[in-house]
């Protein structure tokens, strides 16, 4: 009985867990070379996004999307005053955060989005029917649906897979492999977190007081979406990198929103019963 239910509902046995894998992206080491963007596109066979110039520093990528799974940001902080000591150029390679509580995964109505044996969030391309619900659900604006009339996997949702295919073969994801400065580090999440704490201490000891970690279990940003399996060392407040201070998990507030639907429905039934009921048969 249970077995046939499992078969019917596609609840197959999951693969054996192989430990939590993730990225630690240390933006203090990023030199903005975009090797990660290129390596990602090459390995995952993602098409080019055109040659539009944004005029915003060296960032002509713009945003993460269906065919862009690494995005290097260039933040020029040079205009605020004349003091050259205060001028700096921040770079950051953004990526899917592979949240411990992933909004996209919870939103997915088909079960296409799954948690893999590496603890990463993965879209099964043969299941996704392109309903598009994961797109506005993601608090980071990572996931997107490929255009229906496009050449690339048309009509389904896409984002970083943390190179699931490479992990299966004990290989390092393409972006981390190509990073020349070890700004992108791949490994076991727990070990990376330790490394991040040590690195933060090192930078703070050197006087880099604005350095902070983003996506650690103790951080405010983990309050709803949980620790990020791809987390960051930042040199400014999260908003400077377009990262939300407390990324929201829609499930947390869904109950109270349903409650108002229920209140209105029950109220309507009561009014109807009252108005019709006076002339009851």
């Amino acid at each position: 009985m249970i077995d046939s239910y499992r078969r019917l509902m596609n609840l197959q046995k999951q693969p054996e867990p192989r430990g939590l894998k993730g990225f630690f992206t240390d933006t203090s080491l990023c030199i903005g070379c975009k090797a990660c963007e290129v390596a990602c596109k090459q390995w995952n066979q993602l098409p080019a996004d055109g040659y539009a110039m944004t005029g915003n520093s060296y960032d002509n990528t713009g945003a993460l999307g269906a065919t862009t799974w690494r995005h290097v940001e260039f933040i020029e902080q040079v205009k605020q005053n004349g003091n050259r000591d205060q001028q700096r150029w921040l770079m950051m390679s953004d990526v899917c955060k592979h949240c411990a509580n992933a909004a996209c995964l919870e939103a997915c109505p088909t079960g296409s989005l799954v948690r893999t044996e590496f603890g990463t969030v993965y879209i099964q391309q043969d299941i996704c029917n392109g309903c598009g619900f994961c797109v506005p659900a993601c608090p980071f604006g990572v996931i997107d649906r490929a255009p229906r009339d496009g050449q690339f996997e048309a009509g389904t949702a896409h984002k970083c897979t943390l190179c699931y295919d490479r992990l299966k073969d004990d290989m390092t994801p393409a972006c981390a492999k190509s990073c020349p400065t070890a700004s992108i580090q791949f490994g076991d999440v727990a070990e990376l977190q330790q490394r991040a704490r040590a690195r933060l201490g090192e930078l703070q000891a050197r006087g880099e007081t604005s350095a902070r970690l983003y996506g650690m279990p103790e951080g405010r940003e983990a309050a709803e979406v949980g620790p990020l399996h791809a987390f960051f060392l930042l040199l400014d407040k999260p908003a400077a990198y377009n990262l939300p201070e407390v990324p929201r998990l829609p499930r947390k507030t869904m109950g109270e929103r349903y409650r108002w639907s229920a209140v209105v429905g029950v109220g309507f039934a009561l009014v109807g019963a009252l108005v019709f009921g006076r002339r009851s048969r």
């Binding site: 296409s112 209105v264 429905g265 309507f268």
Partner: protein
Amino acid sequence: MSERPGEHGYYDYPVVKRPVWTWEIPVYFWLGGIGSGAFITSSLAQRFGSEEDARSLADGFYIAAAALLPCTPLLIMDLGRADRFHHMLRVFKPLSPMNLGAWTLAMFTPVAIARAAALAADRGLLPRVAPMLTALVPRGLSELAGSLLGITLAGYTGVLLAATNIPIWAKSKLLGGLFTASALASGSAAVSLGATLRSVEDAPLHRLSKIESAVSLAELALVAGYVGQSGRAGRPLTVQRLALPFWLGAVGAGTVLPLLLHRLAATRSGARLRRLSTLASLCALGGSLALRWTVFEAGKESANDQAASFELSS
């Protein structure tokens, strides 16, 4: 680094992604709402009304079936891969409003069609299959089941939009309640319209008019609460391009006008009652579409509102 005034984010880039949905979704919300509201209104008339009410206000079952029929095709059209529409039902995952909605629609549509067929049989329109329908479709049970499915269908749509990170959809607690009220208002208006066309007695129309007034009043209160709670995030809807269709269409024609017309209709009878009632119903139906349309479109603009995104997630 010191705070840079007026410059909080990364250039003016959006924090969240723009929804990819197109016109099919607000039209589906509207039709699904009419279907749910009409079915529930007619069920209430059957269960609690007089024999006159039950007879005159049964058309909601026809309306529900007719409104629900295009819903599934609309939802399939909006998919990125329409050939995989059935993947919606390969898992039961009510935590996802999208999945809950797909299951609800899949169950509600046949119930509404069966109940409409039973009504046709009761009215002597299907003489060949009438005995079979009478035996197969238990009236009371199908009304109860359909009403529960209907309120779920009406109730999940606003929550589905709210269960995202689009500021104008996610900020307020009331979008689910607002869409439910709009569904019930448009559904009861459709039943009233049907009854007017069938030239029924005055009494059922007056009773229905009271119910419509109550739900319009609730909708007005909810829309005020929704705009208030949304605050700055609500600006794409309240002061920008969509302000006119929102205030005049969704709020004015959708709630205020029906309230006034029903108030006038309360003391009228005969042809004047029918005229006022018809007008009120048309306003409520149009306003309901305007509400879904403007809130849906405002979400696309709200996605680009970087400041509202930071405010929502602070």
